[in-house]
């Protein structure tokens, strides 16, 4: 369906991609869209590559995002951004946490971690927003808030009010961690807003 928008959230198992997709899904559902999200649980969550698909529109059929279909890719790690690239629309936007986590084949020395991923992506004409989400998460008070920082960055590119995102945070985040995550979200959102103006 032509009006269906597709978002991919990719990262490393344990980085909190599921919470990011839940916050996004809440905003989309509240806005009245048909929404489908696809997650992978089980073995892949143990430090492997993880992918969550989020799709919305008037009527969504397939729960997955295929090659060349993603309007936005939210990558929690550089290598995962490179891996997911083929799913990005040619005019889509890639938001990347500019940070490397070595996979086991790199740790064992069997393979090399590609260098200068951001530069290579830009060289291919990809609309890339590379940010240090970990630094922003640490600034918010918890290194684990990388997921919410990145949702904050994405929020600045989408047409939903800050209030809508705040309601989603309240609904999806444990009350104990709410204030911390609100700060992380704000840092990401402000970063993107500043970056887009520039």
């Amino acid at each position: 369906m032509t009006d269906t928008k597709s978002i991919m959230i990719v990262g490393v198992g344990g980085q909190g991609t599921l919470l990011a997709s839940r916050i996004l899904g809440y905003v989309l559902m509240e806005a009245g869209f048909d929404v489908k999200m696809s997650e992978v649980h089980g073995m892949s969550q143990r430090g492997g590559s993880v992918v969550t698909y989020v799709k919305f529109g008037e009527r969504v059929f397939s729960p997955i995002v295929d090659q060349g279909e993603a309007d936005y890719i939210l990558a929690f790690e550089r290598l995962e951004a490179a891996r997911a690239l083929s799913c990005l629309k040619t005019d889509g936007t890639l938001i990347m946490n500019d940070r490397a986590i070595s996979p086991m084949p790199v740790i064992t020395g069997a393979m090399k971690y590609p260098d200068e991923i951001a530069e290579k992506l830009r060289g291919k004409g990809v609309d890339l927003i590379a940010c240090d989400a970990l630094a922003m998460a640490q600034e918010s008070g918890n290194a684990k808030s990388v997921n919410v920082v990145l949702i904050g960055v994405l929020s600045a590119l989408m047409d939903f009010s800050n209030d809508a995102w705040q309601r989603a945070l309240v609904a999806c985040v444990k009350p104990k961690f709410l204030e911390l995550n609100k700060k992380a979200f704000a840092l990401g959102r402000e970063y993107a807003a500043a970056n887009l103006k520039a």
Binding site: G68, P105, P114
Partner: protein, 579 residues
């Protein structure tokens, strides 16, 4: 108001609304969350059983006892429960009974890619196949009505992309018909030959009646589009892929996979030009259509027998255009799953790998011990096969083999089907050594309680079965308990037990590091002056350790201070988290 729900949560909601009163399951990706979500409804009694066979038998008993009952399992779990499955088909039900089975095309988290529709056909049990969360809820409720209408259990088949996808569902109230009376009826419930012979014709008649119902019930839906040059027959999530890729296509969407309709397919085929069957894995629908003498112009020849389909895979197979994509242009190293930082299994596998013993593996997080750099496992087949398989291996290869081999199995898997293998070793005077990796939880499926953990599915305190007493009770004389973080001690214990010419069980006990309440130590650091770049710390395969600028480096956000690498380092270069 509509809610966004996982397919699995929607099945659980369907159970609630249908008045289900009894649930018994064993966890298995991608089915697990059904039972976890259902356990949150006070109206549903919900339990983890030690395995799928026990779960299904408990659900059969509850149904005969008058309660709408349920069990859920992954595709390979249905193999474990196949024995009761094939005979509950004959007994039928008292109150409705639904069996959810979740297939895993693409093997995201499984050891094979079996198509469970074969089980429905072979056991002669109706099977419904939802394609999104709304249908998960609706079909679950319908399954109970069909179960009681046709006196049969009903299989509800999902796949990863239905079970683990979220979409919108409309909630309704629960309708509970209460507990039905139980009346003794041996002709129906005692399946000895004389009775079973009389039940078999009923089973065949029932399936014909179910087929007749499916022709017109609306569970199978014809959507004639503008383009009728090609008609597609499909089911489950493949319907969603196809509809997305071909918005104007004419589709017969199958909701009841067994028994498949006949008239409906003939009518549909007559209304369209070519006929193409779109299904993942095996050609179940395709073979049915061909057997009716209807020409199939495309099926497995286009889509293959392997893995998942997608909108683009379908379009490509049909020779249609797909969106342009940008390629990264160089090899992207794969990121396989790994044992977590601080995983209690890591040290054991390092030691086993160093000892060079044959390791008979099993199903769980610890299957990851097969991957580089640990490379510890020799075999993994199915739940429980580590112990029984090792016995066969050692018996075949003679007494010396038992001194150079171990089985590794988790606490939950041991309770599932490891104990019977141990009984076999004792009874047949084997000498094998079994290591139970007791991390106090069912790990890989996402932390489910089991009979050894002291809690039940509802999260309430429960009797904890003692692994050591259980092993002693079946006759194992050598039962040792060890902390896997203490690598030297563990190595010595393994060597001692391997030397003995009798069976041993070593219980490697430490809770999963991801469990709430497990205290971890602060992150370790590497003293770059002391690091001699020997890379020994890299050989344990910890994702927190990498090699940067010719020195080992520890990622402080991943390290949980388990001290394994400290034990590896001969130069005292790792530390920095002392209290």
């Amino acid at each position: 108001m509509k809610q966004l729900m996982l397919g699995n949560e929607a099945v659980a909601r369907g159970l609630y609304e249908a008045g289900c009163r009894f649930l018994s399951s064993y966890p298995g990706t991608p089915s697990t969350e059904i039972s976890e979500a259902a356990a949150k409804y006070d109206e549903i009694y919900a339990e983890w059983a030690p395995n799928e066979k026990v779960a299904m038998e408990a659900a059969i008993g509850a149904s005969i006892g008058g309660a709408r009952s349920f069990c859920a399992m992954k595709h390979v779990g249905l193999n474990v429960a196949a024995d009761p499955l094939f005979t509950v088909s004959y007994t039928g039900v008292n109150a409705g009974m639904v069996i959810a089975v979740a297939d895993d095309p693409g093997m995201h988290s499984s050891q094979n890619e079996q198509d469970s529709r074969h089980h429905a056909i072979a056991s002669k049990i109706p099977m419904l196949e939802p394609s999104d969360s709304a249908e998960c809820l609706e079909f679950t409720k319908l399954a109970y009505d069909l179960s009681e209408k046709f006196d049969t259990p009903v299989l509800l088949r999902t796949a990863t992309r239905v079970a683990h996808s979220q979409s919108l569902v409309q909630l309704n109230e629960r309708v509970d018909k209460g507990l039905l009376p139980y009346e003794k009826n041996p002709a129906k419930y005692v399946m000895m030959p004389g009775n079973a012979i009389r039940r078999h014709p009923f089973v065949e008649e029932r399936m014909e009646a179910a087929r007749e119902w499916s022709e017109t019930s609306g569970i199978n839906r014809v959507e004639l589009g503008e383009d009728r040059s090609v008609g597609y027959i499909t089911s489950g999530v493949c319907y969603q892929y196809l509809r997305e890729g071909a918005p104007d296509a004419s589709i017969l969407k199958i909701g009841m996979t067994n028994p498949l309709p006949v008239k409906l397919i003939r009518d549909f085929a007559a209304k369209v030009g070519k006929l193409i069957v779109v299904e993942e894995l095996d050609p179940i629908i395709e073979n049915h259509v061909r057997a009716l003498g209807i020409k199939v112009d495309g099926g497995k020849d286009l889509f293959g027998l392997l893995g998942e389909l997608s909108q683009n895979k379908i379009l490509k197979a049909l020779g249609k255009a797909t969106p342009d994509a940008v390629d990264f242009g160089e090899a992207v190293p794969p990121r396989p799953p790994i044992l977590c930082p601080g995983c209690p299994h890591r040290g054991i596998f390092y030691t086993l790998s160093k000892l060079g013993v044959f390791v008979s593996g099993d199903i769980g997080c610890y299957t990851l011990g097969a991957l580089a750099p640990l490379n510890a496992l020799d075999t993994t087949v199915c739940m429980g096969a580590s112990i029984s398989g090792l016995h066969g291996f050692n018996t075949a290869r003679g007494p010396e083999s038992a001194k150079k081999s171990v089985a590794v199995i988790g606490d939950s898997t041991f309770m599932h089907s490891g104990i019977t293998g141990l009984v076999n070793i004792i009874y047949n005077e084997g000498e094998s050594t079994v290591i139970i990796l007791d991390n106090s939880i069912t790990g890989m499926t996402g932390h489910q309680e089991n009979p050894t953990t002291g809690k039940n599915l509802k999260g309430q305190p429960a009797p904890a079965i003692s692994l050591e007493k259980l092993c002693e009770a079946v006759g194992v004389k050598n039962v040792r308990v060890c902390d896997p973080y203490a690598m030297a001690e563990m190595k010595a214990v393994i060597q001692e037990e391997l030397e003995k010419s009798e069976p041993s069980v070593i219980i490697s006990r430490r809770p999963c590091v991801l469990l709430p309440g497990v205290k971890t130590a602060p992150a370790l650091k590497i003293d770059k002056e002391k690091c001699k770049s020997c890379r020994l710390c890299m050989t344990i395969g910890c994702p927190a350790i990498s090699f940067i600028d010719k020195k080992a480096q520890i990622d402080g956000t991943l390290c949980v201070g388990c001290d394994l690498c400290v034990q590896m380092c001969s130069f005292g270069a790792i530390g920095g988290n002392e209290k």
